[in-house]
């Protein structure tokens, strides 16, 4: 599979990219040269809205988009239970070590936000 073009499709216009006004939780993750920030608006038990910001590479951008999409509307307790493998499964490409690190950036930022 041509992952570059697949990625480009997801990362081109991510709906969940940007800063979120009135976020109730925020988290940041750093990886050599890249930083991703995650914003969450939590109402009651659920994540009402989720956005991410700062991802530069298509990999972290695509991963951020897929992750935010998957957690919106979910219970905070369920999202807290998400493991690294759950994140990797969201991304429909074969991941090598450096690519995996970029994909995990938004996930690690989410974990920080929910600490």
């Amino acid at each position: 599979m041509n992952s570059f073009n697949e990625l480009l499709k997801i990362a081109e216009k991510p709906k969940h990219f940007g800063k979120l006004e009135g976020a109730t939780k925020e988290g940041v993750a750093l990886e050599c040269g890249e930083a991703v920030k995650v914003f969450l608006k939590i109402e009651g038990e659920k994540i009402k809205e989720a956005k991410f910001y700062g991802a530069e590479s298509m990999l972290s951008k695509a991963a951020g988009e897929l992750l935010m999409e998957s957690i919106e509307g979910k219970k905070v307790e369920d999202v807290k239970k998400m493991q690294k493998d759950d994140m990797l499964k969201l991304v429909p490409f074969e991941l090598t070590p450096s690519k995996e690190a970029l994909v995990l950036l938004p996930f690690n930022a989410l974990k920080e936000a929910l600490k």
Partner: protein, 401 residues
Amino acid sequence: MNVEKIRKDFPFLRRRINGKRIVYFDNAASSQKPRQVIEAMRAFYYEHYANVHRGIHTLSEEATSMYEKSRENIASFINAKPNELIFTKNSTEGINLVAYSWALNNLKPGDEIVLSVLEHHANIVPWQFVCKKTGAMLVYLDINSEGTIPEREYEKINRKTKLVSITHVSNVLGTIVPVEEISKIAHENDALLLVDGSQSTPHMPVDVKKINCDFFVFTGHKMLGPTGIGGLYIREGLIEGLPPFLYGGDMIKDVQLYESVFANPPQRFEAGTPQIAEAIGLAEAVKYLKSLGMENVREHEKRLLSYAIKKLSSLSNVEFYGTRNIEARAGVIPFNVKGFFSTDVAMFLDENAVAVRTGMHCAHPLHRRLGLKSTARASFYIYNTEKEIDYFVEVLEKIKR
């Protein structure tokens, strides 16, 4: 230099990535190894292996001779004497050795260490640690937009300066730093000079006596040798007075319960069983480079660099950085494709079997100074060709939305 003949010596070139012939432009990170180096290490393990020093038995004596002969050959490659060359794991360890052995014992508050913004983290982070421990301060030589150090910056080297620690060649921009000139200024001010030769030793003739530096570090894996072996040159007259960095076996003359007598250099700085096979592998790499002639290696890379700059200039979607003066630059080109992050560019290149590095190349301060978030970096070596550059440029041209 016969590049086609050289290419036959490198088994990795048979490798296909995504069905395509590999184009390896990640040489500033690490070079590939010729079969001669791999074979020398294999032969050592098959036929001559034992621990070195004080063995008496045949294998140990053979291993010792081969290890020490390797030191002679590697030392002569940079015009040093064998007793001025300490084997290390890599350049980073060499710089740390100087930091622990010399700097921590000689610096005090008010002293200054002069670096440049071109430095790799290996030549920044150890000195930050030294400054925290001793109260000395870091001073940075700045660069111009081309990535060279303007002469007026040298005025920062003064009587307070105790050490100038500077790269010979920038691992990002390829800038060749005039270290001989800096050596004069440092010594006029009674400061010592450390030159980080990680990116110069593999690519051009290096003569530590001509540079007139006090310390010089290099790493084997960037110059056709194995990983895990590098060298630290400390000039005669200085090395004898320095205390050990690591303590243990192999670095002593006598050990009593509460006191020890340390060995003479370089053994004083090589505690524990050393990288014997790796030293032998690096000596073979040096032999290979000597047979090509380092002047010829440099000429080949200048040719590739000037060809690549010409080709890249014709691409409207690519910007690249560093001086256009080939004489003052090694074969390293950092670049970006407009509208894409460096990781994306490298992924696309990898899908087409072109290997480049991305990110900030262990030079965060330099990227910030240049106002760049990251770059992709192509870097050349003896086995690269103009044809490979043509293909690389063809692939780059296709990166569009």
